[in-house]
């Protein structure tokens, strides 16, 4: 029965205007963001500029981070992005001293010496960094440094650039020819070209695919109420599991189809361009990323819609998902080029950067796993709610819906 219901639901979606508007929005987004396929080029020697990258050298990261925090400390003005929006944090004296304590630990100086050194430095007329002479103490390990920076981040109330997970972003360094060549080779040999594009594709499409499905789910959920078809459907023999799951799966599949088609189109472009350069292209990369990266996002968005619509019989799911999405988008800005975290929308807004991906793969897998699990739990909860409503054990909107006849005619 599940299969038959599933097919009927798919057909219903094909007649649903929300679905077409959704596809148009998705296509529009795809075309404007990643429509132009630009093939990577092998770097040539002797250029002035190969772009920039985050440094991977722990010493450089520590140095650069220290410079930043000293500058912010002396001005007592710290930049944070709790959900991606700029927020300036100004600390009171007690907390400033705490930061000074952290800095003392990092530099190996005494607190007072440190403070006066900084004061002198910033009040002098022609300060140079060398004069300041504040450096990381010799026996500092990177692990301990990260720990200290996390402390500083906590004092600042979170969202600062001293979070251990994003310390790298403090250390921008220019890329050399060798760096550029390494990046190129990584795309060719690790990502087999298509992997790098698939990651970029997932990054962009993830933005829109975590919000659009909720609209379809809410439309479907409200349709029964709107058509006043509830009672007839409730009284049939089909199990609540079959009814809700067939709807859920049909929405997932119908949303995945256009996404897979876009991925297929990009795979073709990779194969076409790659074969010209003699690059071996992984033809399954897009499928892997679409199922592993994008599907969990589609699932959570759909199940929030299904669950909240069954629970409340209103469009509240859109609001909840909208707020969650809004916060995630702006929080993700900090780790735009990769680094992930447990954010609803993981970002990897750059072509390549395989190393970051590889290093953080576990976090990404955990992230996607959590959301998949959450989606499944929400959907099962929706089945439960639906079955309760069918038995009249859960009456939404009080007595009005169950006892409407007597109220309206009385």
């Amino acid at each position: 029965m599940l299969l038959e219901l599933f097919l009927i639901e798919c057909k219903r979606i094909l007649k649903c205007s929300t679905y077409y508007v959704l596809i148009i929005c998705m296509l529009l987004f795809y075309i404007t963001q990643i429509g132009n396929f630009e093939m990577i080029e092998k770097p040539v020697q002797g250029l002035d500029d190969y772009g920039t990258r985050y440094s991977e050298d722990e010493n450089i990261i520590m140095d650069e981070t220290l410079k930043t925090i000293i500058r912010e400390f002396s001005a007592n003005s710290y930049v944070t992005y709790p959900i991606g929006f700029y927020k300036e944090v100004i600390l009171n004296e007690e907390k400033q001293l705490k930061i000074a304590g952290v800095l003392a630990e990092v530099t190996g100086l005494k607190k007072d010496d440190l403070i006066s050194a900084i004061d002198v430095y910033y009040s002098s007329d022609v300060p140079t960094r060398e004069e300041l002479g504040l450096t990381i103490k010799e026996d500092m390990t990177y692990e301990y440094f990260k720990e200290l920076m996390d402390q500083a981040n906590q004092i600042l109330g979170g969202g600062s650039r001293y979070r251990s997970s994003i310390l790298q972003t403090n250390a921008w360094v220019p890329m050399t020819y060798e760096d550029a060549m390494r990046e190129y080779n990584s795309i060719v040999y690790n990502d087999h070209l298509s992997g790098a594009f698939a990651r970029l594709f997932s990054d962009y499409m993830g933005i829109i695919l975590t919000i659009l499905p909720v609209f379809l789910a809410v439309t479907r959920g409200l349709r029964d109420k709107r058509a006043r078809a509830n009672q007839v459907i409730y009284s049939r023999a089909a199990s609540s599991f079959n009814i809700i799951i067939s709807r859920y799966l049909s929405m997932l599949v119908m949303i995945m189809v256009p996404v897979l088609l876009m991925g297929g189109w990009m795979t073709l472009q990779c194969v076409y361009n790659g074969s010209g350069e003699g690059i071996f292209v992984d033809v399954f990369a897009f499928a892997k990323y679409t199922f592993g990266w994008l599907l969990p996002g589609i699932m959570i968005s759909t199940s929030v819609g299904v669950f909240l619509t069954e629970l409340t019989e209103t469009a509240i799911g859109i609001l909840v998902m909208g707020v969650w999405w809004f916060a995630s988008i702006f929080m993700g800005i900090v780790t735009l080029r990769g680094g992930y975290s447990l954010n609803l929308i993981p970002r990897h807004n750059t072509l390549g950067n395989y190393q970051i991906y590889q290093e953080n793969f576990n976090i990404l897998a955990l992230n996607r796993g959590i959301y998949t699990l959450a989606a499944i739990i929400l959907t099962v909860a929706a089945v439960y709610i639906y079955s309760m409503k069918r038995k009249g054990k859960l009456i939404i909107h009080g007595k009005i819906s169950s006892n409407r006849k007597s109220q309206s005619k009385a």
Binding site: T32, Q33, I83, Y86, E88, I208, F215, A315
Partner: protein
Amino acid sequence: MARYLQIGKVNLRLSLLPSLLLSVVLLHLSPLVMGVENLDASRTAAVLEMFVALIGIILITPINLPEQNKDIRDLVEAKYTSITVILLIRLIEAIVSLAILIGGYIIFLRLNHCSFPQLQFYLGTLAEALFVGGIGFCAYSIFNQIAIAYMLPLVYYIVSISPGRKLLKDFYLFSMRYGSYREKFYLAVAGVILIIFGLGYPYIVKRFLPRRYLKNGLV
């Protein structure tokens, strides 16, 4: 006149109150997650354009919602006061609420020592709110489908973040960050046109579409 006031009062409770409360809550939550003190003009604009103006979607889009049920729609349409008048009253209420809320927020920013041209930013934010709300309102009139009505303004917002100005040109949402107000003028005009179109759409359909399409709207 008294009748219109009465309609206004009922509608305030019936349709506007939930969205009004929601907007107030969202605005109140903002200081927790974003800076609202000592901002320069560009950062103030970011808060206003990327966040505050979104209450336009919340306040204007669901104006048609009470009539979603077809029976209620038929009933209301049969009453002496035409549905357009009722919608118009609700619209005015929604827009006035927008003006008050945004105005309040501007004053709040000002008290928190943000420096920015207040009148321009006020009108600019209002224009953007009117535009995104107008998209939602118009979409609802056409599709009679609440999900689509919220989806379209949201997608416009996403497109405005990226690719943004390049694509949308004069209809770019976040221009005040770059000190440009011309776009806001376009948005205001477009917003008004969208709302008028949304109000007029049922009449256009009644006049020019064959009867068989009318039952239950287009969907």
